[in-house]
């Protein structure tokens, strides 16, 4: 992936549960480190917008969807296992 490309994320969370709060924090930190200035994050609370979750087929929270660049990449969980997340998103060296 080209470094210059912008990454667009949707993060489905469930209210302010511990898992969700962790995921939001983890995603923000990751983006600051690896994608500074070239990312957008949309946070969707499935309790408020359940129809969107159903439409997107999101059943576990939190779920991170990177829809740009395609194809979609989905990561389920609190995103705190950073090497796994980076590998999945194609960012950096997992060993780093």
């Amino acid at each position: 992936m080209k470094r210059a490309e912008v990454c667009k994320f949707r993060l489905f969370i469930a209210d302010h549960t511990q898992n969700s709060a962790q995921a939001v924090a983890n995603l923000r930190r990751l983006c600051q480190v690896h994608l500074a200035g070239r990312h957008t994050i949309e946070i969707i609370d499935v309790l408020r917008e359940p129809e969107r979750a159903l439409a997107a087929g999101v059943f576990m929270t939190p779920t991170l969807v990177r829809y740009v660049p395609g194809p979609d990449v989905r990561i389920v969980g609190t995103l705190n296992q950073t090497p796994t997340v980076l590998l999945a998103l194609g960012l950096g060296d997992p060993a780093a």
Binding site: F12, A14, D15, T17, N19, Q22, A23, N26, V46, L47, R48, E49, P50, E51, R52, A53, L54, A55, A56, G57, V58, F59, M60, T61, P62, T63, D72, V73, R74, I75, V76, G77, T78, L79, N80, Q81, T82, T84, V85, A88
Partner: protein, 601 residues
């Protein structure tokens, strides 16, 4: 990765957030406290179905029928009770589940439009997992959907798939608790299925489920095992809060219409109506022996060694039933239907014509495989389809071959119970194994005690011959002959021979024939003697008659002679007188009296 099979119109925010909170919507269970499943037998086991507004856990090994059970529960609610339902599929795509269950006749495609909603919640194999997660997203989405379609039933199929993704027991437990709370809050009748390896005692030691089993209000266990190499499925209700239920394992099969749970007659069930009507056994003289025939709706058992004409007797019954115009089913385990028809033709029983006009249905059960239980379900379904009033099962002892004998006994018992409940007159044959059964009173399945009429066929060896003997061992509620009779098969039909006894033995076969011949010869002799006597009497009579005639003629002749004599006398007197007168005239003399008197001397 998760996908959704049916996407919703994305009308966001048409529900205020407060509505979405889990605990806001406590629905009072409506109507009866049980949600009927429409599964034959299961609603009887549980006294009405699954607990309404509560959660039921369905556990079972691979291929035990969890998904079918769950879908049938939903389809019945949606199709028959106007209770829409949601099916959350964790393991298979909804399209495949629908396709797999398409043959059950549940009209899933029709229901799918409005009453039945499928959610494809499969975690795809390339799912990336980083850290722990929960299922509140799914529950929130389902909550909205449930409200929109006024769903009353929900199924989570293969929940274990999701649980397996959770890192530890505590997380699993937390999610189960979340799910349980959500179900309670929604007031939905929930059914959760999960895989479990069953052991002999039907307890599940898989971590995580234990908690689930305690949490739910009802727990059902399905198992599928081999009994002596024959597949046997069983269902057991492990617990059911606030309700009584049948605690034993009940065998079940997955039949044409889905689940069919076998249960024996439950206590308190109404007795079926009995009939005093008699139906012919197909053999006139046997009807006489039974005091008019079998009772309508009775179970008749015909036992005997191979070749004692069990099939022939049942064929005669089938023919008689068809001749009365009754729909009849003939289940043959031993030979093909066409073979049976051909073989029976040789004894004058013509079944072919009734097969043609659809009155008779021959089932070759050799082609049916599986446990005794599934055989019975097949037979029951076929009988229902055909609308049979009379049924023959030849031989019923085959059931004990398929799987273990205890089960087979239960099956035979239920079969009789069913036939009585439906008013079907059932004729079963049962094979006596010459090697194993040495006592007359023992039948393979011990069904003889349940049968209403029991005919026993036997070979009687006498004077170097084997002949078929038939006796009525019992016939409830009818006067019946106590004699051992000889069954005679010929191309004209089946009949029972006249009885001759000699020295306390019933004469059969050639000895009967000898006796019959001797009697016939004696009869003939007597007839000849009579004839001779008659002829000789005729002759004597003729002689007498001739003699009488000649005497009569002689009599007439004598009379004529007498007349002639009298006339001659008279003539002579006259002539004499004329002569004397003439002489006197010639002599001119007077009448001389003296000389005439002297001459007369």
């Amino acid at each position: 990765m998760l996908t959704c099979a049916v996407s919703l119109p994305a009308r966001l925010g048409d529900l205020p957030p407060a509505e979405l909170s889990m605990k806001t919507r406590l629905q009072a269970p409506s109507g009866s406290s049980k949600a009927a499943t429409g599964i034959t037998g299961f609603d009887e086991v549980t006294g009405g179905g699954l607990p309404r507004g509560r959660t039921t856990l369905l556990l079972g090994g691979p291929g035990s029928g969890k998904t079918i059970f769950a879908l049938q529960f939903l389809a019945y609610g949606a199709g028959n009770l106007a209770e829409p339902g949601i099916f959350v599929a964790f393991e298979e795509t909804p399209a495949r589940i629908v396709a797999n269950c398409a043959n059950f006749g549940w009209k899933l495609e029709e229901l799918k439009e409005r009453r039945l909603f499928f959610v494809d919640a499969q975690p795809l194999p390339d799912l990336i997992q980083a850290g722990t997660f929960d299922i509140s997203g799914m529950l929130a989405a389902l909550g909205v959907k449930a409200r929109k379609m006024k769903a009353q039933r929900i199924v989570f199929d293969a929940l274990d798939v999701v649980l397996a993704l959770l890192p530890d027991a505590a997380a699993k437990r937390a999610e189960l608790y979340r799910l349980h709370m959500w179900l309670v809050a929604q007031g939905l009748t929930g059914l959760i299925t999960a895989k479990a390896d069953d052991d002999q005692h039907n307890t599940f030691s898989t971590p995580g489920y234990g908690f689930l089993q305690y949490m739910v209000d009802c727990s059902i266990v399905l198992n599928h095992r081999l009994e002596l190499g024959v597949s046997q499925r069983n269902l057991r209700v492990q617990k059911y809060r606030g309700s009584r239920f049948i605690e034993d394992e009940s065998p079940f099969v997955i039949g044409k219409q889905g689940f069919d749970v076998a249960i024996a007659r439950t206590l308190g069930r109404k007795d079926t109506e009995v009939s005093a009507e008699r139906v012919s056994s197909g053999i006139e003289r046997l009807d006489t022996m039974l005091g008019g025939g079998y009772y309508r709706g009775a179970t008749v058992l015909i036992t005997g060694y191979p070749g004692t004409a069990k099939t022939t007797l049942s064929g005669a019954f089938a023919e008689a039933a068809c001749l009365r115009g009754e729909r009849t089913m003939f289940v043959s385990f031993d030979s093909d239907g066409s073979e049976v028809v051909r073989n029976l033709t040789s004894v004058g029983i013509q079944l072919g014509r009734f097969i043609k006009d659809g009155r008779l249905r021959m089932i070759s059960a050799r082609t049916l495989t599986g446990s005794a239980e599934s055989l019975m379900v097949h037979i029951k379904a076929l009988a229902k389809e055909h609308g049979a009033r009379c049924m023959v099962i030849d031989p019923v002892s085959t059931l004990s071959r398929a799987g273990n004998e205890l089960t087979a006994h239960g099956v035979a018992e239920r079969l009789m119970d069913w036939s009585k409940a439906s008013g079907t007159t059932l004729v079963c044959t049962s094979l006596h194994d010459e090697l194993s059964a040495n006592a007359e009173g023992v039948t393979a399945l011990h069904i003889s005690t349940m049968a209403d009429t029991w005919l026993h066929l036997n070979y009687l060896v006498q004077a170097g011959e084997r002949n078929r003997g038939m006796s009525i061992i019992k016939s409830r509620g009818t006067a019946h002959s106590n004699q051992v009779r000889e069954l005679v098969l010929s191309s004209e039909g089946v009949t029972i021979a006249d009885t001759y006894t000699a020295g306390g033995e019933v004469l059969m076969g050639a000895m009967r024939w000898e006796k019959e011949t001797a009697m016939r010869l004696a009869n003939e002799d007597a007839e000849v003697a009579d004839e001779l006597k008659r002829v000789s009497l005729d002759a004597q009579e003729a002689v007498l008659q001739v003699r009488a005639k000649s005497l009569q003629t002689e009599l007439v002749a004598k009379a004529v002679e007498k007349t002639l004599l009298a006339r001659a006398n008279a003539n002579r007197g006259w002539a004499q007188k004329r002569g004397a007168d003439r002489m006197r005239e010639l002599r001119g003399a007077d009448v001389a009296v003296k000389p005439r008197a002297a001459r007369k001397k």
